[in-house]
Amino acid sequence: MTTLVDYDDAVRRYDPVLGIEVHVELGTRTKMFDGAEQSFGAPPNTQITPVSLGLPGALPVLNRTAVEYAIRIGLALNCQIAQWCRFARKNYFYPDIPKNYQTSQYDEPIAFEGWVDVELEDGTTFRVEIERAHMEEDAGKNVHVGGEGGRIHGADYSLVDYNRAGVPLVEIVTKPILGAGERVPEVARAYVQTLRDMFRALGVSEARMERGNVRADVNVSLRADASAPLGTRTETKNVNSFRSIERAVRYEVSRQAGVLDAGGTVTQETRHWHEDNGTTSPGRIKSDADDYRYFPEPDLVPVEPSREWVEQIRASLPELPAARRRRLHDEWGYADAEMRDVVNAGALDLIEATVTAGVTPAAARKWWMGELARTAKEREVELEALPITPAQIGALQQLVDAGTLTDKLARQVLEGVLAGEGDPEQVVAARGLAVVSDDGPLLEAIDAALAAQPDIAAKIRGGNMGPVGAIIGAVMKATRGQADAARVRELVMQRVAEG
């Protein structure tokens, strides 16, 4: 059993090197090489054709939209787009791959030699170099029957659903990521997060981690220092949440440091990530079985994207998340730290929509990062999961601006909206929360307060405005907070002047 080295100690004494492979399922309507529809959650084996099943005589034909999406991803990653490329067969046996080979790209990827800037939590930027992005197809899904909790070990037999077989994938491979030092876990997470946001902005995938739309394999190695040759790496497969990516990298750094400290050598192998206890365990050791005998796919012809097509796609690329953040930062005039908090809280889209709904950027930030952030924290949900829309915030702010609500009343209305009582106007009506703007009831309450506190009334009449707060407080209480304090103050002065 390997002793884990404390993470901080490990990164003080070793230089960690990272490499990440991200698979993204493209959101095309149909599969990569056949017209079977692909949608999440369809009953098993209802989205299959002879091509998906690899039946004899079936002929794959490439999905044009999938190629376009792959080129979009390549361009967004600042890659060169191949003038000419091919598919290859990657041969191996596994029940979820019915043809006994995966159609993939080998030494001729559609996109190569790129980079992407990744923003870290403190606002600094880290550049990740991209080796390649290539097209391939997804495999089916195995369901293990018997054994413990659907795990493969001890399973009696397995069931296979081929709905996912042939779903278009793009695999993005980084070059070795050097120089991240103790921040490797954060860089790993931020990189995958950056890609996820990019896929969504590009419209090439829904990129939902929890559905496996985006999957990451994380390579970690250690070396003595930045001038030493790269150490032996391990590849931790299918780490599928941002938090797990961070944890898996940390764990591997600690584990490998333990192996090296004990005078051992790191074994080059794939490892499995265990979400439950935050560890990795060895999978297969790379062996002869990994001789995939790649060769060009004879059933598909080469892909030769014309430069006109590539330029047309480049021109149609939407604004990417990093550029959008910079633009909004300028437009909204937030301080750097404010902007960072907004981004980290996942409030960017919400605030943008709120601003579109007519709220000033400052007020929009106050709502989402104040009251609503607190509520989200209490309820342990993401901001966007709160049952309130930017349009409702817009309506609420209008009520405040029109003087119908004070800030305090607005918070009560917000509570009502969050409790599912309807739109702000409905909550105001149902709870009777509008500001009492008619002076009549206010003057009544003021007279009552002055009468109830004769000492204070005398002081105020004597020109000492100090204790006026007590009167205002009493009026607010009497009107259940529905008075505008400034107006009450004016009216008190007026009353006192009248004698």
Binding site: T28, P44, T46, Q47, Y94, L159, D161
Partner: protein, 99 residues
């Protein structure tokens, strides 16, 4: 016939999960030897001005529109399987890799 290809044929056969008896190994190794020599002959004749052929058909960019077709009927697809359960194909216990 013994050729340098016997081990290579045995290795590829193992990767392809094909059991070959020694006589088959010998025969295929001999066949492969002939093929390798034939290809070497082509390489000798082909000069640098002869472009490499990547595909027998002079075609590229054969695409399909992203439009769904009618899928295979599930029962029909499963009918060809030795065993089916819950709308899925039954396969024997998978050993080794945890998927």
């Amino acid at each position: 016939m013994s050729t340098p290809w016997r081990d290579e044929v045995a290795r590829v056969a193992a990767l392809a999960r094909i059991d070959l008896v020694p006589e088959e190994l010998d025969r295929l190794a001999g066949d492969l030897d002939v093929i390798v020599h034939a290809v070497a002959e082509v390489s000798r004749i082909a000069t640098p001005d002869v472009p490499a052929t990547s595909h027998p058909l002079p075609l590229s960019n054969v695409f399909r529109d992203d439009v769904p077709v009618t899928p295979l009927d599930r029962d029909e697809a499963l009918a060809a399987a030795p065993e089916a359960e819950a709308g899925m194909f039954v396969v024997p216990q998978i050993l080794g890799e945890d998927a």
